[in-house]
């Protein structure tokens, strides 16, 4: 058997990214869409860490550290937005985001 190499990690990361994209496009609940976005960011993180390991470089991991922080900040803002919208419309569904279509 071949030892685990960079390609294998990249395949996992690519699949996770596609799953996240699938969730964003197909699911209707805002929270699930939101989780799918996080999944896409995580896929990118996985690729970064794998590259950092196999290129023997530190900066990929430092970048992941920053991305995790950014994602946490996005969570705060995103959930606040969802809650604020829920207060107005009593709904957390994409179909209800159509008030402005005139």
């Amino acid at each position: 058997m071949k030892p685990v190499g960079l390609e294998h990690y990249l395949v996992v990361s690519g699949l996770l990214f596609c799953l996240g994209l699938w969730g964003v496009i197909v699911r209707r609940n805002l929270l699930i869409i939101y989780m799918s976005l996080e999944l896409m960011l995580n896929a990118a993180n996985l690729a970064l860490v794998a590259f950092s390991r196999f290129n023997n470089k530190l900066d990929g991991q430092v970048m992941v550290f920053f991305v995790i922080t950014v994602a946490a900040a996005e969570v705060a803002v995103g959930l606040a937005l969802i809650v604020a919208l829920y207060r107005k419309k009593q709904s957390a569904h994409v179909e209800d985001l159509t008030t402005m279509k005139s």
Partner: protein
Amino acid sequence: MDLAFIIIAVLTLASAVAAMSLRNLVHCALCMVMTFAGIALTFLQLNAEFVGLAQLLVYVGAVAILIVFAILLTRSEDAKKEVRFVSSSTVVGFGVVALVAVSLLAAIQHTQILPPQSVVAPHVSVKRIGEQLMTNYVLPLEVIGLLLTAAMIGAVVIAMREPDPADSVDVQQRNGSPLKLDPDSKKTAVVANE
């Protein structure tokens, strides 16, 4: 191939599939936690202890709990609204995702430009990351501080309950009411004097 890698990868991907397809929101969130934890384990496997633990703390700890809170805050009779049939967005979604997946996997398969893989992992200690953060990356560190400030202020302003214009009229009336009562109380006082 490493058995541990296969197990973790399969678990991560399977829970991600489950999170994207289950109908109950809380189940989705729990599957998502599994995925995040799986990714954290993969980080550990890649000798990235610091980032792996950060992932565990931030995602499995904070983000997951926040999401569950948001689910509880916004829960109504949601489950029945998520109708499952082949709608146009499913078809489009399938097309787009298939396109991305095929091109991505084919590219990974056929690429020639990946640099030679190093056998040794980079020596990453918390000390080295800390030194990097305080020297080379000190400006990004400041920027992330500003970003967190903006996010905090923003989240508070957005989520804060705004008094309705109608409510504020109420408040004025209520503030006004002691004044209205005043003559009455004087009357009663007068009555009492008499």
